[in-house]
């Protein structure tokens, strides 16, 4: 049995427009990095929102391991899913420092462990010394690393990344792509990465899925 599974997931925004996704299925093994490639509007971001629990599918089933996240009868709220997500524009809380941003998802840990995990994450993304800064005081690449640390800190079962490079300059992109690849391998985390850029997907992912409209 595979680690993560979507079965026949169907979803449409409102009535009138047809379904964005129809009977979409996907299986992933633990630690696998899957890239989802498609032009804008093909429903790839919607797919991430469904896995995250930010939208509810009209039909189908999503599960991690033995645990069902959503099917006909049940719906696990996003805060209880154990899914991490890096948003397209990172969505770092502007009123919190880098440290506070990373600590945000660690509220279920005892106090001492929080501090340890924070140091660990800052070290992983090589951002020690930036803990007291606010997001707007960081460069685009640094913001992305903080977003990565924040999403990984609570040890999610699966990590979702929505167009992680769309906010970066072209010359920076190549370097950060490599960086991210190393980070993902080091963390050994199951990841779904959504992008419209074939090169992004080819550099980072084990497997690529093309979505058409």
């Amino acid at each position: 049995m595979s680690f993560f599974q979507l079965e026949n997931v169907t979803f449409g925004y409102g009535t009138g427009s047809g379904p964005v996704l129809r009977n979409f299925s996907l299986r992933m093994e633990q630690g696998e990095i899957v890239g989802i490639l498609g032009s804008s509007g093909c429903g790839k971001s919607t797919l991430l929102r469904l896995i995250a629990g930010l939208e509810a599918p009209a039909g189908g089933r999503i599960r991690i391991g033995e645990r069902v996240l959503v099917d006909e009868r049940q719906f696990v709220e996003p805060e209880h899913r154990g899914v991490g997500m890096i948003f397209q524009d990172y969505a770092l809380f502007p009123h919190l420092t880098v440290e506070q941003n990373i600590l945000f998802g660690l509220h279920r840990l005892p106090k001492k462990e929080r501090e340890v995990r924070l140091r660990e994450m800052l070290a992983l993304v090589q951002m020690e010394g930036f803990g007291k800064r606010y997001p707007h005081e960081l460069s685009g690449g640094q913001q992305q690393r903080v977003a990565f640390a924040r999403a990984l800190a609570p040890r999610p079962a699966i990590l979702l990344m929505d167009e992680p490079f769309s906010n970066l300059d072209a010359d920076l992109k190549q370097k950060i792509r490599e960086e991210l690849k190393t980070l993902l391998r080091a963390a050994h985390i199951t990841t779904i990465l959504v992008t419209h850029d074939r090169e992004d997907a080819e550099t980072i992912c084990d497997r690529i899925i093309r979505m058409a409209r």
Partner: protein, 551 residues
């Protein structure tokens, strides 16, 4: 979707936030329901009398007031908006702000100020007689009339049209107007053929706000002796003690309002012009020189003086005559009353506004969200007099239902607890101004978007913790803005307060009104100036927030 999935979605969406919002929206709807039910109740003799001799008159008078004021505010508001948005002339920035200031002066205060200034013993005629030796025909000074009321309403309500039209012109119209200029059209042609048709929706929006304000008014029409719907409601209620007929009148007025609402929607429906691109180019202003510049300056000066400086100066002069008599412990009591009831009402109001806004932000286009928004905003378009009758009716029937409970609590039989208490006034304030607070909060949510909240959910925080840790810090500014705007509205609200306050409970507004109607106009100046000061602070704050956002 299968039944199981429906049940799942329902379970997913039902939580404390939603329950609270639905309850709030239902409470906001309740008074209007009671009033509309009044249309189906049995009529009594009074009503026969009212219907036969008075109803048509009330309706016509109200209609003339609305149409006259509407037309004049559109003329003044649109021309000033165009002047400020499209031309550059000395003091332009000052005027751009000064044209909003009249909003700080409630029309009823302006009405008795001008009424007194223009009377035989008032400052203007005294000056003409004593210094210039002129004794003019009294007809020239007759402001206590329909024309006078339209004059007052126009001067103090035109900012609604001005503000909305100006914002539209500054942000949306540049491309069209510049193209027309390039095509060699002159200014007059551009104004009538491009600006006016383009800003139709904005103008209709502003003018309908003006219409609601006029229909809400009690102070001006009562002081000037005009038989409008609102004054008629007061008379049947307090003169004839006939609440049923008052409710029926209110129901008719509400039908009229719904009519205006529908017309405005129809005008706006397909006329919502905005440029198809998102790129907003601000309108480049043309420099005025020579005669046109002086004409523009004079016009702006005239409007600002009439609609702000003259009444404020007159009130200040009166204040110096009477402050020793008016400023005493009773006045302190007045301030405490006003402040405490405002703070209590606004706190509850903002709690509800924030709750509803937080619920509907995730599904802004859903039917549920639209219904909620409508219900929440309804109170603002219902005139104070109508709303207060609805609230009174609700409270009286609640008191009847709760009668046994009161007896059990030790009150005497037949005691009216809710309908004699401040609770009723607080409830009415909340319904009436919920829209003001809600719009401010919603703007805040719209600006921050949902992604921070979604990020917080993904990091394991529930809806409530997300709200306190992420949303609230981010929309703090919007909540404060809402607080201040509602504060201004409550402080100057007259009809609602007059009708629903407990016996002997005075606020700044009711005291100013009482002085003025007792022919103690000079004494009224001090509470009036306090109200105006609150208004100026709110208007300035609002302007400042707007400027900061523009940057």
């Amino acid at each position: 979707m299968t039944g199981a999935a429906l049940l799942r979605n329902l379970k997913r969406k039902l939580n404390g936030w939603v329950a609270l919002s639905v309850m709030g929206a239902f409470l906001a709807l309740l008074p209007s329901l009671y009033i509309l039910l009044g249309l189906f109740a049995h009529t009594n003799e009074n009503w026969q009398h009212i219907q036969e001799y008075m109803l048509l008159d009330y309706a016509l008078q109200s209609l003339w007031l609305v149409l006259g004021t509407g037309a004049c505010t559109i003329i003044v508001g649109v021309s000033l908006a165009w002047l400020v948005a499209a031309y550059d002339f000395p003091l332009r920035r000052f005027f751009a702000f000064a044209f909003v200031l009249p909003l700080a002066i409630p029309p009823y205060i302006a009405a008795y100020t001008y009424g007194n200034m223009l009377s035989y013993t008032g400052s203007i005629q005294t000056f003409l007689r004593n210094s210039l030796g002129w004794t003019l025909d009294q007809r020239y000074f007759d402001i206590m009339s329909m024309k006078g009321a339209i004059f007052i309403f126009t001067l103090f309500l035109f900012p609604y049209v001005y503000l909305i039209t100006k914002t539209f012109l500054e942000k949306q119209s540049a491309a069209f107007i510049e193209n027309a200029r390039l095509l060699g059209k002159n200014s007059i042609h551009i104004f009538f053929r491009i600006v006016l048709p383009l800003s139709q929706a904005a103008i209709a929006g502003g003018a309908s706000l003006v219409a609601f304000e006029v229909l809400n008014d009690f102070g001006v029409t009562n002081h000037f002796g005009i038989q409008s719907f609102t004054t008629a409601i007061f008379k049947t209620w307090f003169g004839m003690y006939d609440v049923d007929s008052a409710i029926r009148l209110a129901a008719w007025l509400m039908s009229l309002i719904i009519g205006i609402f529908v017309v405005e929607r129809l005008v706006r429906k397909r006329k919502k012009f905005s440029s198809p691109t998102n790129r907003v180019t601000p309108l480049r202003r043309r420099k005025l020189t020579g005669l046109p510049m002086y004409a523009a300056l004079c016009f702006c000066m005239l409007i600002v003086s009439l609609s702000f400086f003259i009444p404020v100066v007159q009130l200040s002069v009166w204040a110096t005559w009477t402050y020793e008599e008016v400023l005493n412990e009773r006045f302190v009591q007045l301030l405490t009353n006003t402040l405490s009831i405002s703070v209590v009402s606004i706190t509850l109001l903002m709690l509800l506004a924030v709750t509803v806004a937080n619920v509907i932000r995730y599904s802004r286009t859903s039917v549920f969200a639209m219904v909620m928004t409508r219900l929440i905003s309804m109170g603002y378009s219902i005139p104070g007099a109508v709303l207060s009758i609805g609230v009174l009716a609700v409270m009286i029937s609640l008191d009847k239902e709760l009668g046994p409970l009161y007896v059990w609590l030790g009150f005497p039989e037949g005691k009216l607890v809710l309908s004699m208490s401040l609770f009723m006034l607080v409830f009415a304030y909340i319904i009436r101004f919920l829209a003001v607070g809600f719009n401010a909060v919603e703007a805040g949510f719209e600006k921050t978007g949902n992604r921070y909240a979604e990020a917080a959910r993904m990091l394991g925080m529930g809806m409530t913790r997300t709200f306190f840790k992420v949303d609230l810090p981010l929309i703090k500014g919007a909540v404060i803005t809402g607080f201040i705007l509602v504060f201004m509205e409550i402080v100057k609200e007259l009809p609602l307060t007059l009708l629903l306050r407990p016996f002997n409970f005075e606020t700044l507004a009711t005291k100013a009104y009482q002085y003025a109607s007792d022919e103690q106009i000079q004494q009224a100046s001090i509470p009036s100036l306090f109200i105006i000061a609150v208004g100026i602070i709110s208007v300035y704050f609002y302007h400042w927030v707007g400027e900061r956002q523009a940057k």
